[in-house]
């Protein structure tokens, strides 16, 4: 299987740099997009397996980041995904403090999810009938 033509989630170069550092420090990584209060509506980055996903979660993407040997899964609760599926997400990073239990906070930065609407082409490719969320 080759690289998918369309992706739900991308990573900025600035975020990729942080991910490379976190991979070196903590091993394989994962994201779970949060909802709700305070530090919510933000992507949480954990060591792979730290956060147990289950049937109530959706895997939106397997992010491939240069310098990180394995793909980084990007998860979200399935109910939340239903409300987000028409949008494309980009994991970025900004100076900040807020974190929940996300790994990057001690370094004074915070991952941030930027969003845009899927194009019609992307929407057709990603949201029709294959039954798979990760294309």
């Amino acid at each position: 299987m080759g690289e998918p033509a369309y992706a739900r989630v991308d990573v900025t170069e600035a975020a990729a740099r942080v991910l490379r550092d976190l991979r070196a420090a903590h091993g394989p990584l994962m994201f779970h997009q949060s909802g709700g209060c305070c530090d919510g509506s933000s992507p949480m980055c954990f060591p792979l397996g730290e956060f147990r996903t289950g049937a109530s979660d959706a895997l939106l993407a397997e992010l491939r980041v240069e310098g990180v040997p394995e793909p980084i899964g990007f998860w979200m609760s399935a109910a939340q995904f239903e409300l987000w599926r028409h949008t494309h997400l980009t994991v970025d990073v900004v100076p900040g403090r807020g974190s929940g239990f996300s790994l990057e906070a001690p370094s004074g930065v915070r991952f941030l999810t930027r969003s845009r609407l899927l194009t019609d082409e992307e929407d057709t490719a990603l949201n029709t009938a294959t039954g798979r969320i990760v294309s």
Binding site: C37, C38, G40, M44, G96, R97, G98, S99
Partner: protein, 507 residues
């Protein structure tokens, strides 16, 4: 107008120390790893103190201190514990202005709110639980003539509490007061965005508490929150925050079969029925203020009324008035008593809000007012300020479905009662809601039909002690702010006693 002097300037009501260590066992304890992190004020964006960067070793040390203090504290009489809580309240009352300045400086919220809400509510909360624990009784049930079941309340022992940054002192109080009243010792981790106002409070009340009963460990979630939440040495974990971390804390607690209480936010609807606008009177004015409550605390409230649903009959008229009211919100220096909206609590919070303003526009929501970062001048130029913003759109847009945690309200019309309830409940969350109407039957039926733990009826954003607060759906588990929270911090001991000398006859 009064302008309080910023901490660190001559004439300030209070000053922060240049550095804070952990508070463990009644004294400051340096972090095991020797590291500190900077703490900027959102008012200016400039660092004003540095704070211990806690790790698992620090959490263990705090747990040692808490376990050392818990048995004796748990054996104190309820009268003694109530007296301590009342004295804490009195001390806070005596230093209300200092605490208000401390809280506004660290969090960015306007001092009119800390003076009139955060601190008075926190003070009353300690008094409430001082009273509640005095009045609490166990139970007994006479099962037959010679058999009695006695039910006693016992403290859990040592509990862990992870505090959010939006109301640092008040949210800590919501958790501390019932835990202490019930006889528990506490290890508390403030948010890393607002790590020190609790230390300032502790500096005022430390002499009232036996060493080790309240311990403060600062640090980041993964480094200090995880060791606390996953420790087999805590009997319960209380957390206010968001859904992913809430689930993670439940996962940690499940490893030790420990209970949790969680308060995880929402996307609260604020519903304005047609009859609100039948008269231009005091009530109409109050309803418009109720709409504008989305800007309270810069919108950084779990129950921010971030979806305003307005009935079609008065939609345009009410919305126009609401826009006008919103545009009268005074943004400025948080330590100025005329300021109604201050700074967002952190830079990443600011960036997240701006990202939502962008996706809202892309989805086709119309900006009716605001919609941008506020450019402030002078010392505020580096702070984190956002214009109060009204979006108009539909409930399936992301700005209607996600907690932005900023001064942003999304407005949509509804046709009738059923439509209002349908839209109100079309959300993953169920923490708060508002219903505005002059018809008591409509108010009652709407309040009961909305799936949320708190339905403000002809009011909003009131948080008195003795009114239970907590979530339905994905908004959490447990009810704070009420004596029922004592149950979350207590074990039930049943003594099943036979007063009969006769054997059963089985053996």
């Amino acid at each position: 107008m009064t302008r309080y002097v910023s901490p660190g300037q001559p004439g300030a009501k209070m000053n922060y120390q240049p550095r804070y260590d952990h508070w463990i066992g009644g004294e400051f304890v340096k972090p095991h790893g020797g590291q500190y992190f900077e703490n900027p004020s959102p008012v200016t964006g400039r660092t004003f103190t540095e704070v211990a960067r806690g790790t698992a070793e620090d959490v263990e040390r705090a747990l040692d201190a808490a376990h050392g203090a818990a048995p004796a504290w748990g054996r104190t009489s309820v009268a003694q514990r109530a007296e301590v809580l009342n004295k804490v309240a009195d001390r806070m009352q005596q230093h209300l202005e200092q605490l208000a300045v401390a809280e506004s400086w660290e969090n960015g919220k306007p001092i009119r709110e800390t003076l009139a809400a955060d601190l008075p509510l926190a003070i009353d909360h300690f008094r409430y639980f001082a009273g509640a624990i005095r009045a609490q009784e166990g139970g007994l049930a006479q099962l037959d003539e010679d058999t009695v079941a006695y039910h006693f309340h016992e403290p859990l022992g040592v509990v862990g509490q992870i505090i959010p940054w939006n109301f640092p002192i008040l949210m800590a109080t919501w958790k501390l007061a019932p835990a202490l009243a019930a006889g528990n010792a506490v290890v508390l981790k403030p948010a890393e965005q607002t790590p020190v106002s609790m230390h300032y409070l502790m500096s005022l009340i430390a002499d009232l508490l036996p060493p080790g009963v309240v311990n403060i460990v600062n640090g980041f979630g993964f480094e200090a929150g995880k060791p606390l939440a996953s420790s087999p040495r805590v009997a319960k974990v209380a957390f206010t925050g968001e859904t992913t971390t809430g689930r993670l804390i439940m996962q940690y607690a499940s490893e030790n079969l420990k209970p949790v209480t969680l308060e995880l936010g929402g996307k609260s609807p604020n519903i304005f029925f047609d009859d609100v606008s039948v008269a231009d009177d005091e009530f109409y004015d109050k309803a418009l203020e109720g709409f504008t409550m989305f800007a309270l605390n810069q919108g950084e409230v779990c129950t921010c009324p971030s979806r305003a649903l307005i009935q079609t009959g008065h939609y345009r008229r009410f919305l126009d008035a609401a826009i006008a009211r919103t545009e009268k919100i005074v943004q400025g220096h948080p330590l100025d008593t005329d300021t109604m909206i201050g700074a967002q609590a952190s830079n990443d919070q600011l960036e997240k809000i701006l990202a939502y303003l962008e996706i809202g526009r892309q989805e086709g929501a119309k900006v009716l007012t605001g919609g941008q970062r506020s450019d402030m001048e002078g010392e505020l130029a580096g702070g984190y300020y956002v214009q109060p913003t009204i979006f108009e759109g539909s409930n399936n847009m992301r700005v209607f479905q996600e907690e932005i945690f900023g001064p942003v309200v999304s407005v949509a019309p509804f046709s009738d009662f059923d439509d209002a309830v349908k839209i109100a409940n079309d959300t993953l969350y169920g923490l708060g809601a508002g219903v505005w109407t002059r018809d008591i039957n409509t108010a009652y039926r709407a309040g009961r039909a909305i799936q949320a733990g708190r339905v403000w009826t002809n009011c909003y954003h009131a948080y008195p002690a003795h009114a239970a607060f907590g979530g339905y759906k994905q908004s959490g588990i447990g009810r704070e702010n009420h004596k029922m929270m004592l149950d979350h911090y207590q074990q039930t001991k049943n003594l099943l006693v036979s007063y009969s000398p006769k054997k059963l006859g089985f053996f």
